[in-house]
Symmetry: C2
Subunit: 347 residues, 2 copies
Amino acid sequence: MAKLGEEVSNKQIILRDYVSGFPKVSDMAFKTSTIRLQVPQGSKAVLFKNLYLSCDPYMRTRMKKHEFPNYVPPFTPGSVISGYGVAKVLDSGHPDFKEGDLVWGMTGWEEYSLITKPETLFKIQPTDVPLSYYTGILGMPGMSAYAGFYEVCSPKKGECVFVSAASGAVGQLVGQFAKLMGCYVVGSAGSNHKVELLKNKFGFDEAFNYKEENNLDAALKRYFPKGIDIYFENVGGKMLDAVLLNMKVHGRIAACGMISQYNLEQPEGVHNLVSVVFKRIRMQGFLVFDYFHLYPQFLDFIMKYIKEGKIVYVEDTVEGLENGPAALIGLFTGRNVGKQVVVVARE
Amino acid sequence: MAKLGEEVSNKQIILRDYVSGFPKVSDMAFKTSTIRLQVPQGSKAVLFKNLYLSCDPYMRTRMKKHEFPNYVPPFTPGSVISGYGVAKVLDSGHPDFKEGDLVWGMTGWEEYSLITKPETLFKIQPTDVPLSYYTGILGMPGMSAYAGFYEVCSPKKGECVFVSAASGAVGQLVGQFAKLMGCYVVGSAGSNHKVELLKNKFGFDEAFNYKEENNLDAALKRYFPKGIDIYFENVGGKMLDAVLLNMKVHGRIAACGMISQYNLEQPEGVHNLVSVVFKRIRMQGFLVFDYFHLYPQFLDFIMKYIKEGKIVYVEDTVEGLENGPAALIGLFTGRNVGKQVVVVARE
């Protein structure tokens, strides 16, 4: 156990250069640098030990230069990548943080991070739920599912809800929220194992493996003979195109992400947008950053359901920072089953 | 002048068969049938003389079998086509209508129409504005512009507004509404003459001829260096794709129509939908049918501006029912300058 003030090695994950096309493990490098385990005198920074790191699809968009204003900026080639994670305070120059505090929020993919603006981090109050949940159900993906479903989808009891990437960090929660509201819920996923999880663990009414469907339009018509009221969009591209053909009048599409498009140099064309007009569809993109003010309310809401066992959560955990790059890239091949977490240290 | 009870000839426009691809004049037929100028004994129908007929882009979608539920049904091959128009009551079996009443609403493309369910028609109160305006600024297109801009776009003073097909029946009004609200407004149209109209007649801040732009993205960046808050969508396809690249964060797209796509067997692909997520764009399709309850409020609003000369309206008029098919098809080549009206009779 390293002591305060000591200079120790600090393993890190670096982005080598901007990535085009499908990302590879070799686009990132594993590097060992050193760090003094102490906040510099007079600084208001906080020194964290990183415990759990979150692999999220949006991180792909940070691997290239992008021109989205008011969005998370790209990573810096040659520097440590960053992402959501759970961390513990080792030393603090900031009045709001003290040694031993646990937080979740944006941190570095490294063993120790010196964070100069810790105000955006969320403090974790001690509970008996797993700490890693703050990368998922209790963190950014949980808030995304909550804001996206309740604030963007305008759901009503009895409506027909379709969720893509439904066993993922966000999708598994959206489906469970929709069931709690009394909706009919169908999910799509990329393996038969995930389909089983959706039906037997998360309580979706139906689920299908999109990779085994030649005709997504036909698949959706099978599960939604009367059409879809709400589509929770995580994938984009061909699935969105098929969904547009199957939306009901006054349907809503909450666009949380479009993972199928992130690795394409030229995104797929979506051909059926004329349905947006004739069916009066509302398609609303959203980002969790705009909803973090609802976090305390969300935490009360979700903790109650977790404790009652009415909402469950599946994580896919890899051990060791050095396995982080492969875990992150696995999101894009669908290797993960449930929320992909990287364990850097268990406290 | 034909007398009540007489059997007279009734010129009609018939759809020959469902149309694929670009519609032609020969897809419609001019036919002369006969009609007795009298409502059958005991019927609650109303017999109308049609005065002005409206040519609207959505009519193309009725020329093929479509599967949009809760939308205007396709025309029936071999039968008279229908559309919005202004008509005068010749004879009435319905207590709400009497001889001489003027109405606007859905009628037949023929000289005389016997309408069995006249309840959906709007009565016209005598004013000094041209009667033909009830096919445009005071009718369905006017309501579309009003509902689309004020109800769907959530406009705010000072915002940057882009309107495509901006000199059309709806676009010319949207631009004027936006100027009245203190927005910066740019329109696109398909000829230099229309561009001049936009700038000099309708008061758009800027306008451009999309046919003379090799790169729509670059054109939009020229007029919207800081991006677009509101896009009033009338065309779809390539223009929508370029707009998505230029929307601001939290921008809104009101999708009123997508005329560029109606004649394509395979609609163009729209590639930049990932912007919907990262910029938190709301894209909302709407149809005027859902807003007709606002018509009385709209009429008060618009009449005041017309009388004060603060809103102007440009119509493109052809004389004679027999010229209706060419006028209708001209919408898709942009032949019309302003609202396309067909004069069947002037009272």
